[in-house]
Symmetry: C2
Subunit: 415 residues, 2 copies
Amino acid sequence: MSEVKEKGKLAKSASYELIGKTTAEKNEALAAIAEQLLLDQEEILAENKKDLLSGKEKGFSDSVLDRIMLNEKRIADMSGAIGQLIQLNDPIGEIIETIHKENGLLIESKRVPLGVIGMIYEARPNVTIDAATLALKTGNAVILRGSSSAYHSNKVLVSSIHRALEKTTIVKDAVQLLDDTSRETAKELFHLNEYLDVLIPRGGKNLIDTVVRESTVPVLETGAGNCHIYIDESAQPEMAVRIAINGKTQRPSVCNAIESILIHEEWLKENGVQLLESLHAKGVKIIGDETICKLLPDIQLADEDDWYTEYLALTLSVKVVGNVKEAIDHINQYGTKHSEAIITENKQNAEAFLTYVDAAAVYHNASTRFTDGFEFGFGAEIGISTQKLHARGPMGLKALTSSKYTIHGEGQIRG
Amino acid sequence: MSEVKEKGKLAKSASYELIGKTTAEKNEALAAIAEQLLLDQEEILAENKKDLLSGKEKGFSDSVLDRIMLNEKRIADMSGAIGQLIQLNDPIGEIIETIHKENGLLIESKRVPLGVIGMIYEARPNVTIDAATLALKTGNAVILRGSSSAYHSNKVLVSSIHRALEKTTIVKDAVQLLDDTSRETAKELFHLNEYLDVLIPRGGKNLIDTVVRESTVPVLETGAGNCHIYIDESAQPEMAVRIAINGKTQRPSVCNAIESILIHEEWLKENGVQLLESLHAKGVKIIGDETICKLLPDIQLADEDDWYTEYLALTLSVKVVGNVKEAIDHINQYGTKHSEAIITENKQNAEAFLTYVDAAAVYHNASTRFTDGFEFGFGAEIGISTQKLHARGPMGLKALTSSKYTIHGEGQIRG
């Protein structure tokens, strides 16, 4: 039996045990892991150093090395995040719906774990802890398939988890790490329908696209964000500029940052130059349509591809539109259904935008940067879903659950 | 542009219009379709006759021809079912969750349409009407890809729908039927991620398996039902026999019928022969393990494959187990996560069964035949989901919806 199948089988078996664990038992296991990470700090840093050395030898960039790197603070942060997770409500067991039928049947819909979660991710070793603890909190077993660049770090972190679980009532088989980080193990996970209930890719667009395209196991997709702000005719200039700068520059590398601004032609006449100059002053490179290019020097003319591009950098495309309808149509054509905002004082236009723009989160007079599980108050975030089935937008603990109907009778049969 | 792409584009465009339609507008469209089907009855029957004749020439079995066949009563039933659909609550627009943030942001999660639903189905032309009207009720556009064996029937039914919609505010492009029913169009639908938000296969196991395996568009899977009854030591004999007979014989060809009975060894000693004789008397063929085979003549010995088999006929596998744990393990290994029942007077065993059996619907002292959208009181049924994401068990109108966060601010930016 292959490693993937063997560990899949063990995880499945553990998942059945997890179903019956109480919130207290699961929280005790989480507390044990939080403690163990601090106890094992030296060992973790030593193993992490192996990954860093090997990464340097392979010529990884500083930013990649930074993603792999653990230090005392990062270990303390991981441990602290588990402390916060313990405080969150356990969604498992919640009664979602109760139906009393005339024939006396009592039908209840209850929240239950998904079962076994497969997680495929890239460099960051903190995802190992994050994924394992979110899974355990929601009563799920997990199979982790990290990157070879964090091999030693992931291995020592999962050893810590296993050491911690051995002190608790949660079976350590609930957390499985694949030693083999080749492409073949990823492919095997894509088709491990027998043991996996869901597969979650965490990483870049290529990884996610591959998983969505190839996996027969259902996928929770956390997608790209080609997010827009539309500045309507009646937008308050100061507010529009503030939100534009926040959306583009506060953290340009994340999915809820904006990549494009659409501007109403009338607003542009009065305020366009000031907006563009404010963005320039913050180091933002502007790529504009023909009208925008005429406003300031050094603006590059946008081509069709630019409207599709998620720059994830201090680059921004800017386009002029005639009305809110044009803005909505543009966003529905070029957007990635993530986060979209309208800045306007016109309630009717705001309502049209919020209704007709097809995205996980639509904003009126606020920055798209708020699309985040912590900002929404979920206390945890698995990722931000841009798909429409199961979960849409920031995914908290509930996204790692399913439901089940339990029906209580006294011998009823169907007539 | 291919037919699939062209119709996909039209449906997508229609789906954006549908988002803004009121419940009254959607119900008027449904009423118009219900009326039009009756007005067009002669034409529908004439076109249906072409499919029946061509089916006879091709040597289709009587049961397949019966599935294709329409008559006055069936058309009246389709029209009547639309009348019932009109009465159901419109789930669209429902506020699922409201979050007030300290920074003044008002975050609402609202129920919205999925967008465009692709439906791939087999012979029955009534699915054409069913799928189109369920989609319209929930504000979705739909692309229908029926079978060549019902080509003329599907075509005339969609013409009726279009004639009806032309009298209403709902654009007729919302309902698209593919003329080309070749394998190639199905394959194109599997990868039409640009225009399709979900793909729903309705039909046999082969069709569903193919769609799940090949589609990159998210799939709503309606799966097979290898359903069990476990008769525990303390089960009331009369109740157990009644539920077993109902589960197997009331309608053997459906997914919530039972395929297997597990019997506690102690219950078997007192009541086994009576149960088996009662089943025999109803024409049920028994396939049993070694213990069962010794109880009555003419019982075939089960092999490993039998425990996996969904007979969908008056055939039943029967196995003896030592306790509820063995029953649960057997079901989790061989079942299809559909509907499972325990018959017992022991509350602890009932609780263990309901908790640890991994299925969409788990019953205590009732027949598995109740797993049905109408029996559960949903008033409509898209199918019965055996997957764990998005929807599990009988799917009513809500399964055809997604959610969307709308956020109202006064200029908030992220710090």
